[in-house]
Structure formats: C-alpha cells, structure tokens
Subunit: 301 residues, 2 copies
Amino acid sequence: MSLLVTGSIGLDTLETPSGKREQVLGGSAIYFSYAASFFTPVRLVGVVGEDHPKSLFTLFEGREVDTGGIEVRSGSKTFRWHGSYLKDLNEAVTVEVDLNVLAERAPKIPAGFLDSKFIFLANTHPALQQEMLASLKSPKLIVADTMNLWIATERAQLVKLLSKVHGFVLNDGEARLLTEEKNLISAAKKVLKMGPKFVVIKKGEHGCLLVSDSGAFVLPAFPAEAVVDPTGAGDSFAGGMMGYLATQGGTISGATLKRALAYGTVVASYTISDFSLDGIKRADRDKIDGRWHEFKTAMSF
Amino acid sequence: MSLLVTGSIGLDTLETPSGKREQVLGGSAIYFSYAASFFTPVRLVGVVGEDHPKSLFTLFEGREVDTGGIEVRSGSKTFRWHGSYLKDLNEAVTVEVDLNVLAERAPKIPAGFLDSKFIFLANTHPALQQEMLASLKSPKLIVADTMNLWIATERAQLVKLLSKVHGFVLNDGEARLLTEEKNLISAAKKVLKMGPKFVVIKKGEHGCLLVSDSGAFVLPAFPAEAVVDPTGAGDSFAGGMMGYLATQGGTISGATLKRALAYGTVVASYTISDFSLDGIKRADRDKIDGRWHEFKTAMSF
C-alpha cells in the first residue's frame, strides 16, 4: 500500500571518531525514504531552499521514491545541522543548527499523494504534523516521531497529536522526558494511554522496545563492531519498519510488527556502517533479507 | 555434573528508590548458589566471620546447596557492603565497604569438592581465583567473574587467570576498562584473545552479549517494569547460566550456551523484583521454565 513520509531534508556536518564530513545530504525524510524504498514505493514530502545539493535528486535515481512532494522554495535556505558524536557514539551533541526553511510554513502535500494509506510523520512541530495529517483522505496506519524540543516546548500540541496516531516512535531519553518515568516499559504504557495502539522506544546501540496492549517485545540492535556514523539510524529504522508494514496490508498483527521491527533494525545496521547515506546505499533487498534471516537465527534460542 | 562456586558472602545494606534494607544477607556466592540450585546441586565455598547472620544456613534449607565449604572463621568479621541505587538503578554506588574476612586468606575447598566438574569463580582477587583453581582435580568448564578493582590494580594476575578459564563473565564498564575498547563486540574479541573460549558481557537493564569464535549473540533483559533492587542480578544470571550448563554434560554447544544465557536472564528477573534474596526465593523451577518459554516466544519474530 502507498507510503507517505513528511519530514526534514537537510545538509549535515558530521563529526564522529571515524572522521568528519561537511554539508552532506541528510534529514529524517531522506533516510526514511531510502530505507523504506527497499520494500515499497515511497512518496516523499519536504521542503528545501535554493541551496539544496544536487545529490538530493540523484540519490533516488532508479529507486521507487516519488520526489514530487519536495518543494524547492525560492529565496529560502536549506536546513543545516552540525552534530558531533566525539563524546558518545550513542548520542549526538548538536554543535550548530540552522532551521532555515524548516522555520517557515510546511510544504504542501501534492494532490496525488492525499490518498496515501501508510503515513509516517517524521519529527517536526506537532502542530504541523497534525496539519499535514488533516489533509489526508483515508489513512490506514499513522505513525509519528518527535524530538525532545517539542516535548519540552509544545507538550499540549504533542498530546493532541498522540490522540490521532496509531503508532508512536521515540527514543529512550524522549520517552523519559515525555512521561517522567525512568522505567521504559512504564513510560511506554503511559504513552499508550495518550492514544497510540503501539509505542516503539529506540535505544540506540541497545536496540528497541515495542509495547502494545498485548505486551512488550525487546529487540537488541544488530551486533555491529564498526559504527562509523549513527546519524539517520532512527529514521532508517522507521523506514525499514514502515516499508515492510506497507507491504503487509491494512491489518497489522503483533507478529507482523515484530518482523517489521527486525527489518528496521537490519536496515539501520547498514546506515551506521558509514557516513551519511553511504552505508545504506550499499544495501539491497537481497542483502537485507539475508541479514534479517541471520539476525532471526542469531536471536533464536 | 557437579557445580562448584567460590565467591563472597556478605551483609548488605541496600538503598534503592523502593526503600532501604540494613545488613541483609548477600554476596556473589549466595546469589549464585540460590540461582544455580534450581537446576543442579551446588557446592558452595566461602568464608564468613563469627557475626554471620543465622539466615545464611536457613536460606538453603531444603535446597540442594552443600554449605560444607562455608568456613565460619573465629575472630573474624563478615564482609559488609553498603550500596545505593538512588541515582541510577543500573549502577550501584558503593557508600561503604568493609572487606573484613575477605581481606584475609581464602577459604579452603573441602576435599570432597575437589572433583567438581563445573566451576564458577565469582569475583575475588584473581590470584586467589587461580589458587583455588589449582587445587581442583579435573574441571571440565571453568568460568570466572571479576570487578573493576582488580582490572585497575591486579591486571597482570587477571590476564594470567584469563589464560586458564573457558568462559569469562563481566559487565560492560569492566569490559571497556579491561580492553580500552568502547564497542562491546570489539572489547569481547580482545578478551577472547586473552584465553577464554567465550565471553559474556552483562549490560544490566540492556541484557547481555555473548561473543565466541562462532559469532555474537545478544539477549535483552526480561522486560521488567518493577525493578526493586538490582543487587545480585549478575550473580543470579551467572548461577542460572552455570546451573543449566551443568545439566547439559561436558560439551557445550553454541545453542546450549544461548539457552543457558536465557535461563540466566530469567532467574535474574526474579532477583531484581524484590530486596536481597526475597525475589528469587519466590521462584521455583516450574515458574522459571514458564517464564523462559514466555521469553523465548516473546523474542521470536
């Protein structure tokens, strides 16, 4: 089924123990789209300035990503983020951020995208997330992400959003901030009470936790020795998860969700193996399936 | 097969967000023995002072723990530890420690225990661990634990010990300290080069990691909402693991080791559910098997 993502597109400057890259392509919607397109066609909605890199469009050549929803806004500048993992590979320190075009009005969802069934609202202001949601005709599965900034400054809007989504994806620090619960299962249960049917808490190198009414499922990260750049791991995870779910039809069982989380985990393991999108670009569906089965076998006891 | 453990026996004062307990029974060998005795008879070797609590011997009434190796030393005082988890449930802060009898000579392994096949050398000075090892006649599987103190102060002795054991169990912080590798898989591989055939890195609430020549296996912790007191979780884990292994005969396959780690995980989940040994005392083999199968099912995708 059709999968739509709205989120950020940016130019990242990245510092990790493995080196530095300046002004490379990034952003939640970019990682998500690349990851999801291994599984299903993706409709990408986002906005950049006139200064966007050419690689934004060449990246998706030959892939089933419809970039017709990318608005190139005249007179505006592309979102820029400078992050460092020199202190801790598991947590980015923001050195500098220029919201630029992201601080302006949201991009418009093209008319041809409004019938999308699977929706991923990558991190942005929760009021904008709701606005984009409102324009969709008949979504079947809506999953949203967020960040600590909105939890701290726009809690009321975020709580409103939560009452309108089926699934919510956030990281461990954000879950604790949102719920004031240290224990992640308790935190996830509090989030469930706000509306979603399932919550996925991403724990970086420690994997992820899924909580729904039918219980908790914990999945470690794919065992990786060489983590070069964790940027985009969470968005690649969400892309792999949603991409797989979109191929499974309208009703999502608990077993399907678990398989989807494992696909997300595997796709993210490619992303972190190199800077920017260089790691995930070396993956293909056969490799992903191979690693998925390897992971499944390794995890069985 | 016969399972021997040598390690500490102590009086713990524990502070956690759930409350405080003063001078309750604890120590690595106590938690280990209780945990392992769900699976197989245990031979316990340790030393206490005249001031040991009566509960030390009543604890094991009706259980297959041979306490004939506990030396009650006249004129000596029992080991005491005061730990606090008020800041972080995942990491104990030592408020006070009195080594007392543990700073004296090691206990003697009774003659009747010297033919033990499965050996767990719980944390103590690595020279003492080697001394006890040397007296054993024909051990089949030797697994050791350690702590940050010995890594920092007795590295040469610890490296010597590592060349003499089959398995090594340590926590994430200790693995990083020992190898100066941040990535835990890299750290485990470095430890393998020092001698052991397998390394288990305990990651507290994030589960554990097994690395051997045949690859890496990651297991999350049993999803627990109510962590009351993490004291003894690692020793209970080791006890469950070794107890199960001792029932599986002399040759340990990778699959057996994975099942053993899952048993360790399940047994530890009982320990952390209440203070001191109160949680694990509410477990029995049927409950453990039930939770093990629940864990196995929950972990499958």
